[in-house]
């Protein structure tokens, strides 16, 4: 495509420049040399145009090549399934499972039967994210501001490395710790009997905070590490004690990062399946668990689709609200993080 197209005009005759070979011009009846010059001019301009067009095409091709894989992937595995679900949500469950064609709002009318899953998800996901934040911020602050730079890398990897092992394995470990042979067993030995830890909202919350902690720490760590230390010196110079410097400078400047982080973790938690499944034991279940149940157990695809579509709608709303708040924070307190 990048090839320059050959000029549609015959190449200028060899003797043209001398003005001697008039008969060779394709423009009969005109004096040959102005025609030749015109043609030459036109050819140059035309070649320029084709070259520019070729350049544009090339640039578009590069863009396409960069975007195509992701676009194709998202189209096939996200957009199309979502359209399918949207369609399913208005269908009926076929007697033998799956779905059959219909147009009904029955599935959406049926949503209240799964109110508990919605309630758990919508309460525990933001609560988990906030709790996670409360645990993560001091750690991130310590790592970014207080830790000896010499050991910082080691300390940061101590946060990140556990993240590399499977969440499943780590959650199983928590199942054991919280289960009857774990902490309750130890408590029983000192006389505190019948403590139930596993399969409670508390256990799910703990699993959530534990599982998502690195995800919360890292972005806050990065934004705190970028913080210009001279701002803290300026703050101290102006008479601010370290605590005042934190609330007057460090915290406000890290807020946008914190907001994004909380929104991100909340959204991920809204679709959480594994932790409630293992640590909630079917008693504390999330929407994710309800979906698995509906699609794989009772094979009620239309109802499952209706729930999934509703969840997406909720996520969009949460995101928009979070954006509005973040925007408001950034709007009244302009922050240059770079």
């Amino acid at each position: 495509m990048s090839k320059v197209r050959p000029s549609p005009w015959p190449s200028p005759p060899a003797g043209e420049g001398t003005g001697a070979a008039g008969s060779l011009s394709p423009f009969e009846g005109e004096s040959d040399w102005p025609a030749g010059r015109m043609r030459a001019q036109f050819n140059t301009r035309f070649n320029g145009l084709t070259m520019r067009a070729a350049k544009n095409t090339k640039r578009n091709l590069v863009t396409a090549a960069l975007v195509a894989p992701a676009a194709a992937w998202l189209c096939v595995f996200l957009v199309l399934p979502f359209i399918a679900m949207l369609v399913f949500a208005f269908c009926e469950r076929a007697p033998e499972g799956g779905y059959q064609a219909a147009f009904t709002f029955a599935q959406f009318a049926n949503l209240p039967t799964r109110a508990a899953a919605f309630w758990n998800t919508l309460m525990l996901a933001p609560a988990g994210a906030l709790l996670c934040l409360l645990v993560a911020y001091p750690v991130a602050y310590y790592l970014a501001v207080r830790a000896n730079p010499r050991y910082r890398l080691i300390l940061v990897s101590l946060v990140v490395v556990p993240f590399w092992t499977s969440l499943l394995v780590r959650t199983y470990a928590w199942m054991y710790i919280l289960g009857s042979r774990g902490i309750p067993n130890l408590l029983a030995m000192i006389g505190i009997e019948d403590v139930r830890m596993l399969n409670t909202p508390g256990a799910v919350l703990l699993g959530i905070v534990y599982g998502y902690l690195p995800l919360m720490i890292m972005p806050i760590y990065v934004s705190l590490e970028k913080l210009d230390r001279r701002l803290l010196e300026a703050s101290a110079d102006l008479g601010a004690k370290p605590v005042s410097s934190f609330f007057g400078v460090t915290l406000p400047l890290s807020l946008p990062g914190v907001m994004t982080d909380v929104a991100l973790v909340t959204i991920l938690l809204l679709g959480e399946y594994l932790i409630p499944q293992l640590l909630g034991g079917g008693k504390v279940f999330f929407i994710g668990n309800a979906l698995v149940d509906l699609f794989l157990q009772s094979r009620n695809w239309p109802f499952g689709s209706a729930i999934a579509v509703t969840l997406v709608a909720v996520v969009v709303v949460v995101l928009m609200v979070a954006m509005r708040i973040a925007w408001k924070v950034a709007g009244t307190r302009q922050v240059d993080l770079v």
Binding site: R230, L231, E233, A236, G239, S244, Q334, D336
Partner: protein, 358 residues
């Protein structure tokens, strides 16, 4: 004890970072109300000194006094000094007035909000930024940010204002304007200003006391004119202003200096070198170009840089190498500039010559 007339006093102060010595054994007193410049090449320890006064670094040895009070171990937020930081370090999340009011809000006992805003606006007026209070920092130009930083630093009425290369980020014209403004601000406030700079012109033009530093030590302290006219050693002569250096010998017994090309000159009265190898230094403006036989040295003009009010020549002097000569345009006839390639004579007053031990 310390003299009461000194706002800042260093007593045998040293600062080491591990095995690196940034500042070694500095003793220095800055009188109340002075405008002092710490001048030196980068890495000479001048910023470290400033940061030890600000409280961002603690000396490894020696004592720092501010207003007669020992400051070792006192954190930055308890010191009666304020600083204008090199890149200003303005708070990006606060507007101009909030930046200026930041220090006032830290005062205990608390100041009423109305009083804070009145004083902040007053400080902004002093730096001629009245009406800019509600602007965001990133909406201000470099020069305006500089003024905000100044207002923020003077609003707490410090004993000493510290300025860390405050004009380095401004263009030349703005820099000159700010130099004058800083000077008049200092007179208006009557407090001690301490400026760190590597720009000798800035140090000479603004301060009334220049402290030249090199390799962690103070090399010379004095009024700008003294520093320029009577440099304590070759380093100061070289660093402050331009200098022509010539290898020479001080003749034993005789009051004469013999330059490397054999030309003998009378030794200036104040030069007290012992006989032997020496270095001689001339300011470019103490040499005039002449075409008559009053010249001491002769050479060939190699380059000419026309600067408007003056002309700089590079002259290849016979047996001595390149000389820089600044000719005030009256020294040769105004229209009659020396041409590159021209043979020319150099004349100077031997008393303008500085003699240093080699």
């Amino acid at each position: 004890m310390t003299s009461d007339s000194n706002d800042i006093e260093f007593r045998s102060v040293a600062k080491r970072y591990g095995s690196v010595t940034a500042v070694s054994d500095i003793s220095l007193g800055v009188p109340k109300g002075a405008f002092v410049a710490l001048l030196g090449p980068s890495g000479c320890g001048k910023t470290t000194c400033l940061r030890m006064i600000g409280g961002f670094e603690q000396p490894s040895a020696g004592m720092v006094y501010i207003g007669g009070q020992p400051m070792n171990g006192v954190p930055a937020y308890r010191r009666p000094v304020n600083m204008v930081f090199q890149q200003y370090a303005l708070f990006p999340h606060l507007d101009v007035e909030q930046n200026v009011a930041y220090g006032l809000k830290q005062m205990r006992p608390r100041i009423a909000a109305a009083e804070i805003s009145r004083r902040a606006r007053e400080a902004l007026e002093m730096v001629r930024l009245a009406g800019f209070g509600k602007r965001r920092i990133h909406e201000m130009s470099g020069g305006q940010q500089q003024r905000v930083a100044l207002a923020r630093a003077i609003v707490n009425k410090p004993k000493v204002l510290l300025l860390d290369e405050p004009l380095a980020a401004l263009d030349k014209k703005l820099r000159t304007a700010m130099q004058i403004e800083l000077q008049s601000l200092q007179r208006e406030l009557g407090i001690t200003f301490m400026l760190v700079t590597h720009d000798q012109e800035e140090a000479l033009s603004m301060s009334d006391l220049v402290c030249v530093m090199n390799a962690g030590r103070v090399v010379q302290i004095g009024p700008p004119q003294e520093i320029y006219d009577r440099p304590a050693n070759l380093f100061v002569a070289d660093f402050v202003g331009k200098t022509n250096r010539i290898a020479a010998t001080i003749e034993p017994g005789a009051n004469a200096v013999r330059l490397a090309n054999g030309v003998g000159l009378a030794k200036p009265a104040r030069a007290n070198g012992t006989a032997g190898a020496a270095m001689v230094a001339f300011r470019p403006e103490s040499i005039s170009l002449v075409r008559d036989d009053t010249a001491t040295l002769h050479g060939t003009v190699t380059h000419r840089i026309f600067l408007g009010s003056s002309v700089e020549y590079s002259v290849e002097v016979d047996g001595l190498g390149d000389f820089l000569v600044t000719a005030d345009r009256r020294s040769l006839d105004e229209s009659d500039l020396a041409e590159p390639g021209e043979r020319i004579g150099l004349r100077f007053d031997p008393n303008a010559m500085h003699v240093f031990p080699a």
